[in-house]
């Protein structure tokens, strides 16, 4: 537990809690200061969004962004040229390779954590697991910092390969359930979003509810009762926009382009949600935990990933959304350069890669290097903290500012790290 850590004692941290609660904490004005309509409007006009594509299980950096062909660790695949001279990718990503000029590769990641859960924590919270302290996931932070107060749709959505939907109150941590993710299991809308068939209309009972609340509010009201009654109005707005969750309303030609498989459908849904104004969408693609037959499995999984990923980049670009949408392709970690006796690769966090795009990041660049056979970072080593800083810098926020759960200052991003400035605009 180091929530204050080495940054403690700086001016930002000594902000008195009462002062903050009184609205005097200047440090927060940058993102919590949507108090004036003008500021809110301005933010809306440049509303930033973020898309995380999470390749669950740990995708191989060698079969994707940092190939080492014809070395003892390289495996059987080719490295192919990309649209950016001098930068190569694995042949398993032919479509992504054609769009390298839109991408930014970070090839020097060392997260020093080879366990799935803790690796995911590092990548999604920008911090290592600490007993007794839970940090909000990147999606919750993005939703908190970027979502317009008047937004009708939830700001933090994740699309999982299958399973139930629901509301995951864990991942917002101290930011509160408002910013917790809504999970669309297999891309299906949230539970109870759609009005049940037996309920033909709820106009009358809603009118009655409002009448009861109005009467109650005449003599008794508090911020909490207001928030409660308001939540029904907000829910009604989400229900009215249930279409936003329905990718089948997209052009069938788009569905063909993305691919008629689950991940294609989920990526198309992600595009739809981002277009509808959702701040943060995470799409998970399963699974890359290839302890056995790493190469066969990467052919299959990346074969599914490559095209929808490329299509989504194209669409965001074409619609002018890429400038304001940060796209990140991440995993818990990478995979061992060493190929095991079952043609597998195991967990490996010491030298791996992440791909990013959009939001003013330096496109067509690769930062960080690994050695000839990919066993160590040789240049510009970064960890989850650096990436977290970079995301929020790209999104126009200052990640060195604090949140104040229960009055205690907690920096948005790990103060031991800083943004990868070379790839920031």
């Amino acid at each position: 537990m180091n929530i204050c850590d080495y940054a403690c004692g700086t001016a930002d941290h000594t902000v008195n809690r009462r002062l903050f609660l009184g609205g005097g904490a200047a440090g927060l004005a940058g993102f919590a200061g949507m108090t004036t309509p003008a500021a809110a409007r301005e933010l809306k006009s440049v509303q930033k969004r973020m898309l995380v594509i999470f390749l669950s299980g740990g995708v191989s950096q060698l079969e994707t962004w940092d190939p080492k062909p014809n070395t003892d660790t390289g495996g059987p695949f080719r490295a192919i040229p990309t649209s950016v001279p001098g930068i190569h990718m694995s042949e398993l990503l032919p479509e992504a390779a054609k769009r390298m000029h839109l991408l930014t590769l970070v090839r020097g990641i060392n997260t020093k954590e080879d366990e799935h859960g803790r690796g995911a924590t590092i990548m999604l919270t920008g911090r290592r697991t600490e007993p007794g302290l839970v940090y909000p996931h990147v999606g919750a932070v993005a939703a908190k910092l970027l979502t317009d107060k008047d937004a009708e749709l939830p700001g933090h959505i994740q699309i999982t390969p299958r399973g139930g939907g629901g509301f995951n109150k864990e991942d917002a941590a101290f930011l509160g359930p408002k910013f917790a993710s809504v999970t669309l299991g297999d891309g299906k809308p949230p539970a109870d979003l759609l009005r049940p068939a037996t309920l033909t209309t709820d106009a009358e009972r809603e009118a009655f509810r409002r009448k009861l609340n109005d009467r109650f509010a005449k003599s008794r009201r508090s911020a909490q009762t207001e928030a409660y009654t308001e939540s029904y109005e907000q829910a009604a707005k989400v229900v009215a926009r249930a279409d936003a969750f329905d990718a089948s309303r997209e052009d069938p030609k788009a569905a063909d382009r993305y691919g008629r498989h689950d991940f294609g459908r989920h990526m198309l849904l992600a595009r739809r949600l981002l277009e509808q104004g959702v701040t943060f969408v995470k799409v998970s693609h399963t699974n890359y935990d290839t302890h056995h037959e790493n190469f066969d499995f990467h052919i299959e999984q990346l074969g599914e990933f490559d095209r929808p990923f490329a299509m989504l980049l194209d669409d965001l670009k074409e619609r002018g959304m890429l400038e304001s949408t940060l796209v990140v392709v991440m995993s818990e970690f990478g995979r061992t350069p060493r190929i095991n006796d079952r043609y597998g690769r195991d967990h490996w966090s010491k030298a791996w890669s992440v791909a990013m795009a959009g939001c003013g990041l330096k496109a067509g660049a690769a930062v960080g290097k690994t050695n000839a056979n990919g066993t160590a970072v040789t240049d510009r080593e970064v960890n989850g903290g650096h990436l977290f800083h970079t995301y929020f810098r790209a999104l126009g926020m200052d990640p060195t500012k604090n949140f104040y759960p229960a009055g205690r200052p907690v920096p948005i991003a790990d103060p031991k790290a800083a943004a990868i400035h070379e790839i920031l605009a």
Binding site: G132, D192, E204, R205, N213, R220, S231, Q234, A406
Partner: protein, 522 residues
């Protein structure tokens, strides 16, 4: 002492002293309906049945509120309510790992039913090593936290000392001068020699202890990086030094492979006494503050775990008095709750006077609107829709609180999972989230509860011909009050000419359940 007025009056006096012209500004005493609903929710976690409401409203005796409070405190539902509050408080809705929930709940429930002194309850919790099956349930606090030092230290300080020392782990607290790094490690030193035996992930693990080991810490602010240590100590009090033991006699049972060691001197055994000792006023302060907050909706010191000199109580003299009295009365929980419940301060209406409208809630001029806890909301919904009464009728002669609870428990699940906070994290402020609202709006659970069945609210109301009587049945059942004339007319209008009376009644009940008047304790 003998001539001193009862605590309830001294509370009122101190509260009144906290605001100039308090008597003129404060809300009037709540009417019977308001009081009945509020105190029933606070002390038993439920709303009264329509029959209870009718009976209480009809009772014309002068001491009916006293009788009500005594009856509620004597009821098994009181013990259940306290069990639920303290389970969430102590265990933060963690998943079970070592002590089964049922045994833990029973331990809490029987403790509160017997009105076990609160300090004794805390000593039970902080002294059980889990080895004796009879006292193992009390060890859940330690065992289900896996004795994880940062979490146990944080939670002991938060829950039993009223001070969250989490930020003092790496250095003296940056914002609170009173919270020192040595405080944090002084607490940790009580159990830094303890460990789970045979191993942490064994569901049957017990707490064992070594005879040596010190806590060491360095302040990250200290440029010299000087390493410090501390023996066990309750913050602000003299550290408890270890006795000198002859070499070779450190253990009653020396450590060996697969053998649980027993040290000649146990640091952990000092913890419970040290925390609840008379000299440690922090314990009684936070204890009294928590019971006050349960009833009043906020602590005299707020946040409840932020007791320090720069964050004074809203009513410092009252706070001190309450803590002293609680300790002097041998930590009599029911006694304290009874006095609070019978105070005018507690019994004020939640409708402010014109002058009291914009007052800060910590002046206690108007009753604070308290959102129902997940359990309260669940029980209230089941009572309001009639499920509780249906089950009660089904049980007939076999009725006991436990039997009824067993039938209701499964219906409580969705309320706990949707309205409860994150597992393993303390309850935070109120939030109304989309999933909760959709659950009420479209979810099958609420729909099924409202659906008519023999004896349920919609069923009962549908059988009444007179719209005004329908209105009475609805309002008494859901809101514990009689409808106003205007509200009677609303019901009449809604029912007039409707082809499907049951459907209309279902909609009305739904709207009432979804309303703020139902969602809050007021």
């Amino acid at each position: 002492m003998g001539s001193e007025p009862p605590l309830r009056e001294r509370i009122d006096r101190q509260i009144a002293a906290g605001l100039p012209n308090y008597d003129a500004i404060a809300a009037p005493i709540a009417n019977d309906s308001e009081f009945l609903r509020r105190v029933t929710l606070d002390l038993t976690g439920r709303i009264p049945s329509a029959a209870d409401a009718r009976a209480f409203l009809a009772d014309s005796s002068a001491d009916k509120r006293t009788k009500l409070v005594d009856a509620l405190l004597a009821s098994p539902e009181y013990a259940r309510r306290m069990q639920e509050i303290f389970d969430v408080l102590l265990m933060d809705r963690r998943r079970d790992s070592k002590v089964p929930r049922a045994e833990w709940e029973k331990f809490l429930r029987t403790s509160f039913a017997a009105n076990k002194p609160y300090d004794e309850l805390v000593r039970d919790i902080l002294s059980s090593d889990g080895a004796d099956p009879k006292t193992r349930p009390a060890a859940k606090f330690f065992l289900d936290r896996d004795l994880e030092p940062t979490i146990v230290t944080r939670d002991i300080s938060r829950l039993f000392l009223g001070r969250n020392l989490q930020c003092a782990q790496c250095h003296d607290h940056p914002l609170v001068d009173d919270y020192k790094q040595e405080h944090y490690y002084g607490i940790q030193a009580f159990f830094n020699r303890a460990f789970l035996f045979p191993k942490a992930d064994d569901p049957k693990a017990v707490i064992a202890e070594k005879a040596d080991g010190e806590v060491n810490f360095i302040s990250v602010f200290d440029p010299k990086k000087a390493q410090k240590t501390t023996p066990p100590a309750v913050p602000g009090w003299k550290p408890i030094g270890d006795p000198k033991l002859e070499k070779g006699k450190e253990y009653k049972v020396p450590p060996k492979k697969d053998v649980k060691p027993v040290p000649a001197y146990s640091r952990l055994a000092q913890l419970a006494t040290a925390v609840t000792a008379d000299e440690n006023i922090a314990f009684r302060r936070t204890a009294a503050n928590r019971f006050w907050a349960i009833m009043m909706g906020r602590g005299l010191v707020q946040p409840l775990d932020f007791d320090h000199s720069a964050n004074p109580a809203s009513h410092p003299a009252l706070f001190e008095m309450l803590a002293e009295e609680f300790e002097e009365k041998n930590y009599d929980v029911k006694g304290l709750l009874r006095e609070i419940a019978m105070s005018k301060t507690y019994q004020r209406s939640s409708e402010p006077t014109a002058a009291g409208k914009d007052l800060a809630e910590d002046r206690y001029a108007t009753a604070i609107l308290k959102p129902l806890s997940p359990e309260q909301l669940g029980y209230a919904t089941m009572q309001a829709t009639g499920l509780t009464d249906v089950y009660r009728t089904e049980l007939a002669k076999k009725y006991t609180e436990e039997a009824l609870h067993a039938k209701l428990a499964s219906n409580l699940g969705p309320f706990r999972s949707l309205y409860g906070t994150r597992a393993g994290e303390p309850e935070e402020g109120f939030a109304s989230t989309l999933d909760q609202t959709l659950f009420v709006k479209h979810g099958g659970h609420i729909r099924n509860l409202i659906a008519p069945r023999t004896g349920s609210l919609v069923d009962r109301a549908a059988k009444l011909a007179e719209p005004s009587r329908v209105a009475e049945e609805l309002y008494l059942t859901v809101y514990t009050r009689l409808p106003s004339d205007e509200e009677r007319r609303d019901i009449e209008d809604a029912l007039r000419g409707s082809a499907n009376r049951t459907a209309v009644l279902g909609d009305i009940v739904w709207a009432m359940l979804a309303s703020a008047e139902f969602r809050f304790n007021h």
